[in-house]
Structures are given as structure tokens and as C-alpha cells.
Symmetry: C2
Subunit: 188 residues, 2 copies
């Protein structure tokens, strides 16, 4: 199959399949992603779908990668302003249905599927590590005296936004973000 | 069918179906809950499963109600100690696989299914309202000066625990809970 990867028909059908899987995921949820429904939605033979992605969890993973997930951009100084800006950007992305779909599908599917759990872990690390490092640097620089270990900061800063978006299913406003950042420590 | 609700065979098959649905949900996820698999797992005819629950989303909802979800017990004074105690209890319950299953399935399925969204909303209100009221009373009594609106308190207090349990997939320790409570305002 290696040579067929450069075949334009192969690439076109691959794109059509991923697009169809994404449409089904966003409109009907992960349970809607079956080879039969993806084939029908894409207007492609079911055998072709199986050839590209033999398993439905692979189709789901391919659909999920089409939705850009929020993450922290490179830190800038002052850290407090950077953090408010980044958390606001994350909150605005979590206002979107497709981002909520991917975030909650990731948390749910990770409980049973190893591949999905590896994606969840990579995503959690991306969020947590960058924020932890930025807060460690800010503390060393004298910008803030944190009230708790930097590794808890991600949960304290991002957790309220995730809870509001996925359990309360509401939008996080500026007041909540300001409080979450203010509460992390004594800012100078 | 009304009289059959008192028929012991009806009640026995109903219990066997709910139990089978719960086992499938916990072991394999919501996608595993189909009439065929539940019937096989319960050792009951598929037609019987359809008679009790015509739709798979009803089977899923029935399975989910078998898992007790964490919530806030009636407030006691001092409010700060009550809150630490309750958040610790919630964190310990979210250490359990079946509670994570129900919490993440709720957040995910609510994005497409109205019945599930009503359950999610009821659960979110149960958490948020009791905590908001307890903090309002504590503030009126002079126990605390909150840094933000009481309605944001649930997200700031519970959000980090949910994020850690479902996205970081880790256990919330005492230090994180102490910081989340301390950060809500100036306690006296």
C-alpha cells in the first residue's frame, strides 16, 4: 500500500472519509462513527473505509484530530497578563460545540481505549507542563508567590473553565478567569 | 403493562437488564450498550430488553442511575471545614472508575441527547446550588469574604477536582483541596 499513498484518488478518499467521520462525530456523537455510516456520509464504498481505517476507534481518532484543541501559547511577561489572555482564549475555544465534543470524548473514551488514553495524556501534559513551567519561571523572577505547588496550578486555573464548559455547559466569563488567576498566589 | 410491573418475573428481568447494562458500561463504555449485547450479558431474550427499554439511550440512562454520584451533603459550621470535608469526599469518589465513567459519559452524551442533557443540568445544579447557598450563608455570617461571586465558587472549588480526575486522570490530594478552599476568599 506504500505507493498508493501518493495516489491522488487514495488521498481524496482519505480526506472524504475523515471529513465524513468528523461531521458524524460533531452532529451525532462518537457512537455514530461506524464504517457503514461513514461510508454512506462520504459516498464511498465501505470496503474503502475499512482499507484506510480497519477499526472504528481509528476512525474516531482521525475525526478528533481535525478539531484544533486549545493549549497555552509560549509565555510572555508579565506572566499574569499572559495567563489571563491564554485562559480567556481557552475559554472562548471551549464555547465551541466541536471543541467540547473532542474534550469530552477524549475524557470518556480514554477510560477504555489505550490509544485514546495516550492522546488524553499527551493533551493533559501539553496544558499542565507549559503552565507549570511558566509559573515556576514567574515565581523565580519574583512576579508571584504561589499559594500551592506549581503542578497544582494547571488544575486550579484550567479546571474551573473545563467544569463550566462541560458539566455546567456554560461560558466562562472574565470575572471567573480573573478570580482563578488572582487566587493562584500573591502577584506583585 | 401496568399490572405486569408487580409481576416478580417482570421485576427480576428488569433488574437483570439494568445490571447487565451497568456491567457493559463500566467495562467497555457507552458504545457497548446495545439491545443485543445487554440481552446476551443478562441471559434474557432481546425482545424482553426492547419491551422494557425501547431505545439504547434509555438503557444507558438506566445503567448510569445505578452509580451514586458525588454531591454536597447539608452544610455545617464552620463552613470551611465542611467544604474541605465535602470536596475530599467528592475527590475520593472521583477516584473510582465507575464514577469517572458516569461523569464523563454525562458530559459527553449531553451534547447530543436532550434527556442526558437534562440529567447533566440537574446534576450540575445539585452541585452548584448547594455550594453557592452554603457560601452565601457563610459570608452573611461573617465566616468568609469571598473573592468572587458565590455562583463562581462551585466552578473554582469543584472544577480542579473534575479536571484532575477526568483530563489529567489523577487523584486530587489534600494540598490541592486546601488551596482551592483557601483561595475562595479571606476566611476568618
Amino acid at each position: 500500500m506504500a505507493s498508493s499513498r501518493h495516489d491522488p484518488r487514495f488521498l481524496r478518499s482519505r480526506a472524504a472519509i475523515v471529513n465524513a467521520a468528523r461531521e458524524l462525530l460533531v452532529a451525532h456523537g462518537p457512537g455514530a462513527i461506524t464504517h457503514a455510516r461513514v461510508a454512506e456520509q462520504a459516498g464511498i464504498a465501505r470496503a474503502t473505509v475499512y482499507r484506510h481505517w480497519p477499526r472504528t476507534d481509528q476512525l474516531l481518532a482521525a475525526a478528533m484530530t481535525t478539531v484544533p484543541m486549545p493549549f497555552f501559547d509560549a509565555p510572555s511577561v508579565p506572566t499574569r497578563a499572559w495567563l489571563v489572555h491564554e485562559l480567556t482564549a481557552i475559554a472562548r475555544q471551549l464555547d465551541h460545540h466541536d471543541v467540547r465534543v473532542v474534550a469530552t470524548t477524549l475524557a470518556n473514551a480514554a477510560l477504555w481505549e489505550d490509544d485514546m488514553d495516550a492522546r488524553r495524556e499527551g493533551y493533559a501534559r501539553l496544558l499542565t507542563n507549559r503552565l507549570t513551567e511558566a509559573l515556576e519561571v514567574a515565581q523565580a523572577r519574583g512576579e508571584v508567590d504561589l499559594h500551592t505547588a506549581p503542578r497544582h496550578a494547571a488544575a486550579l486555573a484550567i479546571g474551573p473553565i473545563y467544569f463550566r464548559a462541560t458539566i455546567e455547559r456554560d461560558s466562562t466569563d472574565d470575572e471567573l478567569i480573573a478570580a482563578a488567576v488572582e487566587n493562584l498566589g500573591r502577584w506583585r
